[in-house]
Amino acid sequence: MEKLTGTFKVKSGLAEMLKGGVIMDVVDAEQAKIAEEAGAVAVMALERVPADIRAAGGVARMADPKKIKEIIEVVTIPVMAKCRIGHFAEAQILEALGVDYMDESEVLTPADPEFHVDKWRFRIPFVCGARDLPEACRRIAEGAAMIRTKGEAGTGNVIEAVRHMRTMNQQIRQVAQTPDEELVHLSKEWGAPVEVLKLIKETGRLPVVNFAAGGIATPADAALMMQLGCDGVFVGSGIFKSKDPDKRARAIVLATTHYNDPKILAEVSENLGEPMRGIDIAQLKSEELLQVRGN
């Protein structure tokens, strides 16, 4: 047999390798190096971290290719980058740049009011956000090889990520207990492809890796999400919007590995300096919520 590339196995396989790790948002080569040296398993190359996107307003787009290339140049760990929801041309550009993973992300301004990118057409794997199991199933049916909670990016507030993970866990339990003859009905009710529901019923879990994202700011937040069953953690604004990014990054890496060991968590949480300030979700207007983008 010849070499096979771009298969779902190698796409989901890379996500498997990232498990138990922390993926950090970075905006330049210098931050990328700090993240790698702190133990990040991958970096997300961005123009601005979500907190700044939120503050700046306007249309948020794919990062400048020059910036992405600079970041690829300085690290050996995988480099991810974001494209707008439905913006398959941005995805084509990111693929041409040779990024290792693409995040079709609600943090950027959506480009298509209805449709997501047909991710099966790409050889580079995609990660997509989801608030619940039906949304995760739709993304998987579109070809996503990795899922993350949407949470509420750029807030430093973990409540939405917790809500999304708990919802997914409850719905996975529900699928596991649904008799086969009722799966089609559930599929219709949820708008979730029945093939994906069948896979979930068989294994009792999502068929792809599921990370936490959107509001993780402290080692304790990371441990919380891991104990809720996430496979790993994305930290966006939480690191480089804090007083001491290097120290906080190292602490979150350790907390993600030793999430079940409160003694280590206590030790690594000590004296980290100011975390990012954070936003109470109730203070956000409904049009300021990023998680409702794409469904």
């Binding site: 070499k3 590339t5 196995k9 190698v10 390798m17 498990k19 398993v41 040779g98 590995t257």
Partner: protein, 189 residues
């Protein structure tokens, strides 16, 4: 027989699942205490820089290096192979276990675009379907190292006495034969 799987980061769950499926008692190893009493250890795929960082922090690196030199059977897949290697052909230094006489180049098969599946012929095992993810490449081996499988003329599964290393991920395909080969190494020790 107690087999440990280093569970600091990476796809340790897949290794644990394969070992459990062949009826073994397995243990996740995150601390020095958990390393005590294992008869063999698997270092999973993942990010070698992350694992090295975590190994350095709690004394596991030194202890594992010592036990590896004393003959503890260790099998490293992908990132695990990088950690076992005595030499990295790379401009960036990285803490490693330095146990195995191979020279490895990180991500030498390319970026994720070049991750691939291929069929191999493995000595003592036979045909084997293998998955390579941003794989490290073995560029040189010392005479003490036995080559068990090659792909395109490059070694991809190698053994040196108590040490086994692969560029690919047998834990991702659910085929337990490479693991069973390792278990025989542990049993015969």
């Amino acid at each position: 027989m107690h087999i440990g799987v280093l569970a600091l980061q990476g796809d340790f769950r897949e290794h644990l699942a394969i070992l459990r499926a062949v009826g073994l008692e397995v243990r996740e190893v995150r601390t020095l205490a958990q390393l005590e009493g294992v008869d063999g250890l698997i270092i999973p795929g993942g990010e070698s820089t992350t694992m090295a960082h975590l190994l350095m922090r709690n004394g596991l690196m030194e202890s594992l290096r010592r036990r590896g030199r004393d003959g503890l059977p260790i099998y490293g897949t992908c990132a695990g192979m990088i950690l076992l290697a005595q030499e990295l052909e790379d401009d960036r230094p990285q803490e490693r276990l330095n146990l195995m006489g191979v020279t490895v180049r990180r991500n030498a098969y390319g970026r994720q675009l070049d991750s691939f599946e291929a069929d191999l012929q493995i000595k003592h095992i036979g045909a084997f379907h293998a998955v390579f993810i941003r794989a490290p490449k073995i560029v040189r081996v010392r005479p003490s190292v036995e080559i068990l499988a090659e792909h395109d003329g490059t070694p991809v599964l190698v053994r040196q006495k108590n040490l086994l290393a692969s560029s690919f991920h047998p834990e991702l395909t659910g085929d337990s034969r490479v693991h069973q080969y390792f278990l025989e190494m542990v049993a015969r020790r």
